[in-house]
């Protein structure tokens, strides 16, 4: 697969706890009047918390080698994904029979730990690189806006199944780790690296989404739901570290095709009107 490695994660513990609490609370709001069948409602709104698969940009984590002082230097960025809960809200309206449109907003955020290592060759000696290593964190934020069509079906009075799909617009902010490199000073024994840097890259990309939502209504208007969706887009994002040093030594600016979206599993509250 080009562009990234998918990593599935188990449903986050906070998300699971939240779902249990919601069920308990909403279960207490008993309303015995179930006069309205599921599809009689025209509008709905939902808010979810869940987990989403995600991908690392390969080139942001592969070693980058460069020519310096008649030798090869190397920058490595070892990145560990630090997943955060994904938040999604959606609302929609049934327009005709079982069909309707829905709009949604989703925010997925990661805060990854990165160990940055830089080896710069010595100007006078082979195989005697000056080494620098430091840890930092980089943030990856993916916001998407959906405008989807849906088909829904009532499974009894309390349960409603909805399938949806359509275009999704992604706005991505990806931080790239690098190293700030200062001037070389005789006798060149110390690394000229001064510290890590983080550069923000942005991209906007159109993609698509398909998914399903299963809602169980505990009262006439309030319920809980489980959502599973798969969305996909790919954006070219520059992954070269910033700074004059890398501008000078890199043979070509590095960019990578980063896979956006992924599989989202979430749960939350549902309201219908």
């Amino acid at each position: 697969m080009r562009g990234g490695r998918f990593r599935f994660g188990a449903l986050g513990r906070p998300a699971a706890q939240l779902a249990v609490v919601l069920l308990t609370v909403l279960g207490g709001m008993t309303d015995t009047a179930w006069a309205q069948p599921a599809l009689a409602a025209r509008w709905f709104v939902g808010a979810d918390v869940g987990v989403q698969t995600t991908a690392l940009a390969d080139r942001a984590t592969e070693p980058i080698t460069f020519a310096r002082f008649a030798e090869r230097g190397e920058l490595t960025r070892t990145q560990e994904i630090g997943r955060r809960p994904t938040v999604a809200v959606a609302g929609g309206v049934r327009l005709w029979r079982t069909l309707g449109v829905r709009a949604g907003f989703l925010q997925f955020t990661r805060e990854d730990d990165v160990r940055v290592s830089l080896n710069i060759p010595h100007p006078f000696f082979f195989d005697r690189p000056r080494s620098f290593q430091q840890d930092t964190t980089v943030e990856y934020r993916e916001r998407s806006v959906d405008l989807h069509g849906f088909w829904s079906r009532a499974l009894g009075d309390r349960v409603e199944l909805q399938a949806f799909g359509g275009p999704t617009i992604y706005y991505v902010e990806m931080e790239v780790a690098g190293v700030s490199v200062g001037d070389e000073v005789f006798p060149f024994e110390a690394s000229p690296a001064r510290g890590t840097t983080v550069s923000k890259r942005r991209a906007t990309q159109l993609g698509w989404t398909v998914g399903a939502d299963l809602s169980v209504f505990l009262t006439r208007h309030v319920g809980v739901g489980w959502l599973t969706r798969f969305s996909r887009a790919a954006a070219d994002i520059a992954v070269s570290p910033s700074g004059a040093f890398f501008d000078e030594v890199l043979e070509a600016p590095l960019s990578d095709r980063v896979e956006l979206g992924g599989v989202l599993v979430s749960a939350g509250v549902r309201f219908r009107f």
Binding site: T65, A67, F124, F186, A252
Partner: protein, 551 residues
Amino acid sequence: MTRRRRTPSLLGIAFAALLACNADADAQDGLRQRTFAATAGLALRQADILADRLARRGELRLRLVQADTVLPGRLHQRLVQRHDGLPVHGGELARQLHGGLTVSVFGTLYSDIDVDTTPTLSSDAARAIIQARAGAPINPTAAPMLTVLPQADGTYLLTYEASVFTRNDLRRYFVDAHSGAIVDEYSRLTKQGTVGTGIGVLGDRKKIAVTPVGGVFLADDSLRPADVLTYDMRGDVERVLRVLSGTSALTVADLAADADNFWEQPAEVDGHAYSGWTYDYFFRSFGRRGVDGNNLRIISLVHPVQRDAILTASARDIDLFYLNAFYCPGCGPDGNGILVYGEGLPDPFTVAGSTVDFFTGALDIVAHELTHAVTFFTSRLGTRDVPGALNEAFSDIMGTAVEFFFQKPGDGPLKADYLVGEDIISPLLAGINRSLEDPQRFGDPDHLSGLFTGFGDRGGVHTNSTIASHAFYLAIEGGTNRTSGVSVRGVGASRRQQVAKAFFRAFAFMLPSNATFEIARAATLQAAREIDPTGALQTALTDAWRAVGVH
């Protein structure tokens, strides 16, 4: 090559509009290349609007945003030109922003690009072509990339672009994505061209600091604080003599030079590299900045004679320029001293059965000669009799210390040991080689009782030097003196630098020019006391001097 029908692009139309009102947009090659230098007025507005429009159309892509480190609040964008998603080589704008307003736009853009972006050559085929030309593999993280390459005649080519690090260069290649022809290539090392690589006398690969001038690389070290200059005298011994006497100047044309920065003259490589290493040793070990302490230039002459002309060489030339290396204080046009390194002997000539290679091939010899220069600018120890022996001893001690600083301990070539000149003489030869560990091995005294008192060798400066340099050895490694039978417990190899520091302080700063062995002993003990208050260093030195008969 497949070409698209040429249609006026937004760039072309914009260029025409710009030209009508923009004196800062230079017209070059008809309407196809434009250089922007817009800093104010309508020109700036037009350039700014054009950049925004092209960015929205995807013809310019933001590559980098940097905050100005000099003027807070300023941002600098770099926008690279794309055509059908491919980079256009050389097409780039640099836009400066302040508070959201554009302050300046500089750069070059290309218009009316009419090249089809579908290659007929595969990326793998392009990789193979480039690797075959370069003789080296392409970095896996930078595979051949499709690029639009503007041509001098105003046309465009679809190419694969890749950079390859060869053994001595970083080259960028452009391969026609249809025909497979290499249409352009050039070096990318211009910004870091002050380091070259070469093969030394013993076949080892090393780096040398050089200066690129006019398409060639010169043995002029521009990385160290002092100018380290190595001149290739091309075997013109008469010229060498004139240079030494100050009647002929050295010019840039005399500097050792190489066209591709992969140096293949081993005498030049080692002479230049080892001079730099010795400078580094004195700086890093003693904080000394060059031979005079003030970064005086270091001039070395190599190839003073033609090796193959030995049959017609005079006895003086053979002794001085084939089988010797020397520091000539006060020599040269500026009177600040010059180092000269012997050429060695051509095959099959030998000295008493020993082959002799270029004298620059031994790190300890280069360091030995440069230490003579340090001595000249410090204690000015004499050059005959006992002061001369101390002068030579100091050079041998520093030469050995430099070896241990840069080379791994051991026997054989390019290893640090207590032999002098072992890397260029085979088998080792009394009269040229010396041993600080066992002076008697080459007939040199290891005890004051063996002091040579004749007239030869300027009163035995080389042979008698081992009395002091053997004390240096004993203070570090310990052992029993073969003549006196006195045993010394050395401070150990881990403290070799400390012993060297004591000798440096004593010989450079404390000794008078007419010093005796006794004064040398007292000075080194004084230096040791001040360096190591625990007394261990002083004890070892006291025992070492006693072992060699100096009380």
